[in-house]
């Protein structure tokens, strides 16, 4: 059964800390891995990773995929209280080349204290 597993489930840090969130996957015919940030209700897209070893970066956030280890990490440097959210990792089901729904991990709840 395809699955996505995230760790830790929750994390509390102080402003200025650097955090690393982990995601591992077992997905048949894997094609891509996505990271989302969920603050209230709607998850907002952060990154899509398809190639191993190529870092994607957006401001203080960065992410990289390791296809050998079937995993990805999301790094946040110099954390701010506004980074407090649930971070979701997901991978699309793949039906013979036609992508389907996303399989999500349970998320990592990050709390950044002032």
């Amino acid at each position: 059964e395809d699955k996505v597993v995230q760790s830790p489930l929750s994390l509390v840090v102080h402003e200025g800390d650097t955090v690393t969130l982990n995601c591992s996957y077992e997905v048949t015919n894997f094609r891509s891995l996505l990271w989302y940030k969920q603050e209230k209700k709607a998850p907002t897209f952060l990154f899509m990773l398809t190639s191993s070893g190529i870092e994607k970066k957006s401001g203080r956030l960065s992410s990289i995929l390791d296809k050998k280890e079937l995993s990805s990490i999301l790094n946040i440097t110099a954390t701010q209280t506004g980074d407090s959210a649930i971070y979701l990792c997901a991978s699309p089901m793949n039906y013979g080349g036609s992508q389907g729904n996303l399989i999500f991990g349970k998320g990592t709840k990050l709390s950044v204290k002032p």
Partner: protein, 117 residues
């Protein structure tokens, strides 16, 4: 431009009643997905529409759940005879649906928080 919209934003109902949740996808997006997020859980896939193809209903938890998509645009998720365990946030997402990697990026609506008393 307008994103995915959902209504109502909150719905409180009594056990045994039917509810309808609505999703308006981004204009031009051919793929539409429904997910459910229960407290402390990740998003759970419910149903997926792609163009005029038959929907993928493999995630629907019981036959009390159904969804339709009229005219390839607006979708309605119906839950009949609601139970307390149906309480969750129901999220709708849409994506362009074209081939290639752009297909993977799903844009989410704000969700409907359903509470079954």
């Amino acid at each position: 431009g307008a994103g995915v919209s959902q209504s109502p934003s909150n719905k409180v109902t009594e056990k045994g009643k039917d509810v309808e949740l609505r999703c308006d996808p981004i204009s031009g997006h051919t793929a539409l997905y429904w997910y459910r997020q229960s407290l402390g859980q990740g998003l759970e896939f419910l149903i997926y529409f792609q163009g005029n193809s038959a929907p993928d209903k493999s995630g629907l938890p019981s036959d009390r759940f159904s969804a339709e998509r009229t005219g390839g645009s607006v979708s309605t998720l119906t839950i009949q005879r609601t139970q307390q365990e149906d309480s969750a946030v129901y999220l709708c997402a849409s994506s362009p649906g074209r081939g290639g990697l752009s297909y993977n990026e799903q844009f989410f609506g704000p969700g409907t928080r359903l509470t079954v008393l």
